[in-house]
């Protein structure tokens, strides 16, 4: 297969990344339930080890090619031509890193806050990690689907068992929404399989041409799965419930990684497999994105619950991501991918921060807070960084991503560009207002006498701060990963006529 490269590392790193957390989870089974300290230490060790291993991907990735790297391919079900086929390109590699990093932070943030069924909690977390990595690495459509669905089980349990008061409702809603979308995609996958001559190999499927009518049907079948995950405007209602009720670690993983999978699905499957339908449907998708940006933003203004506000802000931010992707130009797509990372980092950090203060006050109602800045100064200064990154202030990562997306958006449709730019203003509105209500004003009863954040908590937030400024000041470290792959993707979508210069010009300006 000419679309793949040999594994530069010489050992099956992707399989190891997938297996390691699973082995850790199996190991946890044998630790006594009462020995909570050992359970936590083992989970931390496993997740840190996985993260360190994944750094090798970062350092050994060949940025000069769009080919799949670190490829592994074994027969899985020969009769149906299914393979255990893994590989990474510039679009997916960074998400694997994000997933491994976020898992480490999730283990750290759950150190004290998970008080019951600790063993099951960490098993779920580790199983979830391996499924997440699997989703981003799979190059076989069925293998992808397997990981995609398998992820539901631990996530359902995380929300439903360790979540807030309304957790059962949120968990079931999350599960059913995602399942309905996914099964429709399954039908689409099978139809594609037969049309393409019995193949699930994504790289092979990408090279074929499909009739427009079929593309259109498949586009909406895939849309059902991916749009629910993103979540895009009409099917976003599971997200506020799930995010709000999930335990901190669950919210962080949901926000940082899980909802990225929807956008990733569009990039990996919808665009390259169904280029004509994607082009034709782009205006619809742009419109839905703009609605999500503005509607999500306005709803944020009315929220009284901290976590719910951040959850709705995700709807708005993910609207930017889908806007960028369906702008179908280099700036838009690269901005979209970068913004996916940014959103993972920033919203992940915001949920971590909310988790930290929730552990102390046990309330999520914004009105219960006030004057936190005078009690917890370090915490307040970190939170302002995340707030600014979320708004997209220059020098933070949010600016780079949103700027690229808006550039792409303007090129695709001026209306979309103008309207979504107003979404940034709304975003500044609700985030700053939130900050004001929680951190300034008079110190409220519930907040008085709180202890500032501990070293462990600081450790969970610090990586995010570093990443925010790193991407904000020198985005090229990350953008350089994706140039060839995005180029290749756009050639497939636009039929080989995408200008390659623009993005370089922008990175020049940003520098």
């Amino acid at each position: 297969m000419e679309q793949t490269m040999n594994n530069a590392l010489g050992f099956p790193i992707l399989s190891m990344l997938i297996c390691w957390p699973l082995v850790g989870a199996a190991f946890l089974l044998f630790i006594s339930r009462t020995n909570e300290k050992a359970i936590k230490m083992v989970s931390l060790l496993i997740s840190v080890a996985t993260f360190l291993l994944s750094i090798l991907l970062f350092s050994h990735f060949d940025k000069s090619t769009h080919l799949m790297q670190f490829v592994e391919r074994y027969e899985w079900i020969p009769y149906l031509n299914m393979h255990y086929h893994l590989g990474l390109d510039g679009i997916s590699v960074l998400f694997v890193l994000l997933a491994t990093l976020v898992t480490v932070l999730s283990v750290l943030i759950s150190w004290e806050s998970v008080k019951m069924k600790t063993k099951e909690f960490f098993i779920c977390l580790l199983v979830l990690e391996s499924a997440m990595i699997g989703v981003f690495c799979s190059l076989d459509f069925m293998l992808f689907y397997l990981f995609w669905e398998a992820m539901l089980i631990p996530m359902y349990l995380l929300i439903g068992v360790w979540g807030g008061p309304n957790r059962v409702y949120a968990a079931v809603k999350f599960f059913l929404y995602t399942l309905v979308g996914s099964v429709l995609m399954l039908v689409g996958i099978i139809v594609l399989y037969f049309y393409a001559g019995r193949s699930f190999n994504i790289l092979e499927l990408m090279t074929k041409a499909y009739p427009y009518k079929m593309q259109l049907m498949l586009f909406w079948a895939f849309f059902a799965a991916f749009a629910v995950k993103v979540p895009m405007f009409p099917v976003h209602t599971w997200l506020p419930d799930a995010h709000t009720e999930a335990p901190t670690a669950g919210s962080v993983i949901l926000a940082a990684v899980l909802i990225k999978m929807g956008a990733y699905g569009f990039l990996r499957f919808s665009l390259p497999l169904l280029p004509d339908a994607s082009r034709e449907m782009a205006p619809v998708m742009l419109a839905l994105s703009v609605i999500a940006i503005i509607y999500g933003g306005i709803i944020c203004l009315a929220q009284t619950d901290l976590k719910r506000l951040i959850a709705y802000s995700s709807v708005s931010h993910m609207g930017f991501v889908t806007l960028g992707i369906f702008a179908l130009n280099t700036q838009g797509v690269e901005g979209g991918i970068l913004q996916m990372l940014n959103h993972g980092i920033v919203t992940g950090a915001l949920f971590l921060s909310v988790g930290i203060i929730y552990e102390r006050t046990h309330t999520r109602v914004i009105a219960d807070y006030g004057g936190v800045a005078s009690v917890m100064p370090i915490y307040a200064s970190l939170f302002i960084v995340f707030t600014f990154a979320s708004i997209g202030l220059p020098a933070t990562n949010g600016f780079v991503g949103e700027f690229l997306i808006l550039l792409g958006g303007f090129k695709a449709s001026q209306w979309a560009g103008v309207l979504s730019a107003s979404g940034i203003i709304i975003g500044a509105g609700y985030m700053l207002w939130l900050y004001q209500r929680v951190f300034f004003m008079e110190t409220s009863q519930k907040v008085a006498g709180l202890q500032d954040i501990t070293t462990r908590e600081l450790m969970t937030l610090l990586p995010m701060v570093i990443l925010i400024f790193w991407i904000g000041i020198y985005p090229n470290t990350y953008l350089s990963f994706m140039h060839p792959s995005v180029q290749h993707l756009l050639e497939r979508v636009n039929g080989g006529s995408a200008p390659a210069v623009a993005v370089n010009a922008i990175t020049q300006i940003l520098r």
């Binding site: 027969e75 899985w76 079900i77 020969p78 009769y79 149906l80 069924k117 099951e120 069925m142 689907y145 397997l146 669905e149 398998a150 539901l152 089980i153 359902y156 349990l157 439903g160 068992v161 957790r167 059962v168 968990a171 079931v172 599960f175 059913l176 399942l179 309905v180 099964v183 429709l184 399954l186 039908v187 099978i190 139809v191 399989y193 037969f194």
Partner: protein, 475 residues
């Protein structure tokens, strides 16, 4: 006329089963420990399974055929038999219905199923069906002092007899039309006489479809299932939910693909509405159940609907996917029933869904296993249930029934709600009262086997798919 000894090799497994069944009936007089009888029964079933391998062939003048298809089903029946017996002994003791006839009745019922799977002639089919049905009626009513068990047996008997009558009616019509009861000869005659749109043929096909739909509990002929499942002793419920259903599918596949293979479009038109109704009623009514055995009864109705897709596809792949699903379904369903059996003690019924509340706190192991079975029944990877459904959907799409598959996946998504409810109660609620587990080595072993199979087939299904495909290649 000299008497020619027929070739006995193809019926060897059945002969072994008959000998053991009669032997167990007699052994019950001398052996006082019922566990020993159970143990001997398992060994006997093992021997029968062993003889399966060398039994290929046709005998009794073409009335009886042993091929890959029948062998695959017989394997399912024997697995079903062994797992049921493993789960039975402690349960029977708990309910004080520990009688030796139980084992020979189960053996006879399984023998009947094996006859059905191998029947190449409608008369043999009927013989097997009655042997299976009569034995199961008795088993369903085995808790003599329990009015619900009596009701289960009665209802099953009355409706079963009705189905048998309809089957005979269909048979007589086909005999009148073609002059034979041999499935192959019927097919030949239909092709030769160009009976494709003959109304009598249509009517007899409808009768066959109705009769078999009773056996596989397809809507609208499912009325007996919830009551029979609820009232019967739980191991028998597990047994009934797999064995007779599999046997029903075995004859359904063979009769319609062999005898009526040339008029596939006609009978597909009969089964498509049945399949849709079955999935709809099974999944939707299951949502409102409060008794877990009833819920699983409706779930098993729904699963029959999925499996019908394989038959409707009418291709070797379709049949193979139906076989494969049946095999997987046997493990995941029996596994779920094994947990229900464990909850039953002398004083505690453990059949309300509410009894599962907080099980993960009191018995984390049992709850984890139930979770795996529930997700498998929903069809979530990496459990085997997903692979089964996936292959079914695939072969139906390949046969051109994409729209039917869309209907099926949507109902399958609905089913997630009631399976998840069990998981939700076990994991997300606090226990009301302490539930005692009535565990025994037999049940434990059955659980190990079923959960092992569910996970293994779910992750590495390759060998099983090939086996099923090979078994279905005769069509």
């Amino acid at each position: 006329m000299p008497l020619i000894m027929p070739d006995l090799k193809p019926v060897m497994p059945e002969i072994v089963m008959t000998v053991i069944a009669i032997g167990m009936l007699l052994a019950e007089l001398v052996i006082k420990r019922k566990e020993t009888i159970g143990f001997l029964t398992i060994i006997g079933a093992g021997i029968a399974a062993f003889t399966l391998a060398g039994s290929m062939g046709t005998t009794f003048g073409g009335m009886y055929v042993s091929d890959g298809y029948s062998t695959f089903f017989k394997l399912i029946f024997l697995v079903n038999l062994i797992l049921t017996i493993l789960m039975s002994s402690r349960y029977l003791e708990t309910l004080k219905i520990n009688f030796g006839e139980y084992y020979s009745l189960i053996l006879f019922a399984t023998l009947g199923m094996m006859l059905m799977a191998s029947a190449a002639d409608i008369i043999v089919l009927y013989l097997g069906l009655e042997l299976m049905a009569l034995s199961t009626y008795i088993l369903a009513g085995f808790i003599r002092y329990d009015i619900k068990s009596n009701e289960a047996a009665m209802k099953y008997l009355l409706l079963g007899a009705f189905a048998s009558a309809i089957l005979l009616y269909g048979t007589s019509m086909i005999y009148g039309l073609t002059g034979t009861t041999n499935l192959r000869d019927i097919a030949v005659y239909i092709a030769k006489a160009e009976l494709a749109s003959n109304p009598v043929l249509m009517l007899s096909m409808i009768f066959f479809a109705v009769a078999f739909s009773f056996k596989i509990a397809a809507v609208p002929f499912h009325m007996w299932a919830p009551d029979a499942y609820e009232g019967a002793p739980t191991p028998i419920t597990a047994f009934m939910s797999v064995g007779p259903k599999a046997a029903g599918f075995a004859v359904l596949g063979r009769v319609f693909l062999t005898a009526f293979g040339s008029v596939r479009m006609d009978w597909a038109a009969i089964f498509i509405p049945i399949a849709i109704l079955t999935m709809a009623v099974g999944n939707i009514v299951a949502l409102s159940q409060t008794n877990i055995k009833r819920m699983l009864a409706y779930s098993s109705i729904a699963h029959a609907g999925y499996m019908l897709l394989g038959v409707i596809a009418g291709t070797p792949d379709g049949l193979a996917s139906m076989l494969n699903y049946m095999f997987i379904y046997a493990f995941m369903n029996i596994g779920a029933f094994a947990i229900i059996i464990m909850l039953r003690t002398e004083t505690f019924k453990g059949e309300d869904i509410a009894d599962y509340q907080g099980l993960s706190k009191t018995h984390p192991m049992a709850a984890a296993l139930m979770l795996i079975f529930m997700f498998s029944l929903t069809g979530i990877p990496p459990m085997a249930g997903f692979m089964g459904k996936f292959y079914l959907f695939m072969s139906a799409i390949n046969a051109g029934y994409t729209w039917l598959v869309i209907v099926a996946v949507l109902f399958s998504a609905i089913s997630a709600y009631f399976y998840l409810r069990i998981v939700m109660l076990m994991y997300m609620k606090e226990p009301k009262e302490t539930v005692q587990l009535n565990s025994s080595p037999g049940v434990a072993l059955a659980l190990v086997v079923t959960v092992g199979a569910v996970l293994f087939i779910g992750i590495l299904p390759s060998k099983f798919l090939l086996f099923a495909r090979l078994a279905a290649s005769a069509f």
